[in-house]
């Protein structure tokens, strides 16, 4: 059986010193205060702790600084003042009526939205183009598969454009590879070649026109007036992915990231220089 002193020590170790500290600081009210007072009345160690904490608080309030007055003159010289004056866009920063915490949260939110938007948008586009890639890629005998694959992608075509897929002159099938560039005949496809030329192509008019000159022509051997065609590395999504539609979104999300980072920088600067 433990003696009294052991019991007292054990019981004090179970007491909450933070409660006593809060009582010494006068921060308690209601049942907590009653509990803390009961603690100091029933436990000598808690009472001693309470008295010590109050004595320390009193002493701290009257303690002088550990070091005497500064040896340095902190007045600003005209050169320092000139270098500290805000110029350009920095003058606008203090006028933004946001608190530091709000600015930080807004910055984090914008950067997150921008990053997530960029990731999701581009991953989904990549997935979409990957689905069409096996058909559209010219490598590995893709020439024969191209028309069928392209025909199986009408939705992709129409999503970015206005027309359904068109296949003409399929007798010249091998020439349907989507990744042929018509060098020297920039507007072969964009100008909607004549069906009578015997050439075969697929794609939409607006998609072709959006490609700009020299992109995505794939004339047949007969050429539709095209004298020379050179195969390009795979451009699987050039025909079916509405890239033109994703660019504004990318810009928006990129702008959100930039703005978010700028707000974070502003918040950090305000944190060290509260307004």
């Amino acid at each position: 059986m433990p003696n009294d002193s052991d019991v007292r020590v054990t019981s004090h170790e179970r007491h909450d010193p933070m409660l006593v500290a809060a009582l010494a600081a006068g921060d308690l009210a209601g049942p907590d205060r009653d509990q803390a007072i009961a603690l100091t009345q029933s436990c000598a160690s808690c009472a001693s702790l309470h008295a010590d904490l109050q004595a320390i608080a009193r002493a701290t309030a009257s303690v002088p600084p550990p070091i005497a007055a500064p040896r340095r003159d902190f007045r600003l010289s005209p050169e320092q003042a000139a270098s500290l004056r805000r110029t350009g866009w920095r003058r606008l920063v203090p006028s933004i009526p946001l608190r530091t915490a709000t600015t930080r949260r807004l910055g984090v939110g914008l950067a997150t939205i921008g990053l997530a938007g960029l990731l999701i948008g581009n991953v989904s586009f990549s997935l979409g183009s990957a689905a069409s890639a096996p058909a559209a890629a010219p490598a590995g005998g893709g020439y024969e598969q191209a028309p069928q694959a392209a025909a199986s992608q009408p939705a992709a075509s129409t999503a970015g454009g206005t027309e359904s897929l068109t296949v003409r002159g399929s007798a010249n099938g091998p020439s349907l590879a989507p990744a042929l560039r018509t060098a020297g005949a920039p507007d072969t496809m964009g100008s909607a070649p004549s069906p009578s030329s015997g050439s075969a192509y697929f794609g939409t008019n607006d998609a072709a026109s959006s490609r700009g000159p020299g992109v995505a022509g794939f004339p047949s051997d007969g050429g539709g007036g095209t004298s020379k065609a050179e195969p390009l590395p795979a451009r699987p999504s050039a025909e079916t992915t509405p890239i033109g539609g994703s660019r504004p979104l990318n810009l928006v999300f990129g702008g959100a990231i930039v703005l978010g980072l700028a707000l974070l920088i502003v918040a950090r600067r305000r944190g060290s220089a509260p307004l």
């Binding site: 933070m18 701290t60 550990p66 070091i67 500290l84």
Partner: protein, 219 residues
């Protein structure tokens, strides 16, 4: 200084926009009125007015910061950086107490310094070991009381230097500077509960460090 014609012109031309309640209630205080006038002139580009503010508050800011960063050179750097920052952000002053505004900037500068110290730990604060300077004693104090007081301050300052930076900052702002919990929370960017917790834990830590010298503080 308050009677100078230039001052009157400055006030008349661009009256202060008082935004919060404290500034309206404190503006009757001559010290506060002087500070606001100097600040307004400094906003107008008068460097001398800003330097007048510096002269008024530099010792006080140093005394505050040196408790949080008890190294003479680092504390001086913090105070200088605080005045730089204040000058850069003159346009952002939104009324209230100029002293509190400067203290807030200085506390943030001190906290930045402490964070930098954590990243690059070096020697503990050497100034706390320096006993060459002691606060002047009152003329009426007898030698024993003076010696006891000096010793109490010395051990307390030494103990303050050993607790965490956050706890020390909270205790100094609460006990020494007399700010309330909410003001400290605003200054340090933490919640009110965190401020209380830091003060309580800091005092408990001080008591631990002073356990063999508590006789100096009792009675």
């Amino acid at each position: 200084m308050l009677d100078s014609p230039r001052l009157t012109l400055a006030v008349r031309r661009d009256p202060l926009i008082v935004e919060d309640l404290r500034s309206t209630t404190v503006s009757d205080d001559p010290v506060q009125r002087r500070d606001l006038i100097l600040l307004e002139r400094a906003r107008g580009g008068d460097l001398d007015a800003f330097n007048d503010l510096v002269v008024v508050y530099q010792d006080q800011l140093f005394a505050l910061i040196v408790r949080m960063v008890p190294d003479r050179d680092q504390a001086s750097d913090c105070v200088q950086e605080a005045f730089f920052s204040a000058y850069r952000n003159l346009a952002g002053f939104r009324g209230g107490s100029v002293k509190s505004w400067l203290n807030r900037i200085a506390v943030n500068a001190a906290m930045d310094t402490q964070r930098a110290r954590k990243r690059r730990p070096s020697q503990p604060y050497p100034e706390l070991e320096d006993e060459s300077w002691q606060p002047p004693a009152g003329e009426e104090a007898d030698p024993v009381t003076t010696a006891l007081t000096t010793e109490r301050h010395r051990v307390l300052n030494a103990a303050l230097g050993t607790i965490t930076d956050d706890q020390r900052a909270a205790i100094v702002l609460f006990d020494v500077e007399g700010y309330d919990y909410q003001e400290i929370a605003d200054m340090t960017g933490v919640s009110l509960g965190t401020v209380k917790s830091r003060i309580h834990r800091g005092r408990l830590a001080l008591r631990d460090r002073l356990s063999d010298r508590m006789d100096l503080f009792r009675g």
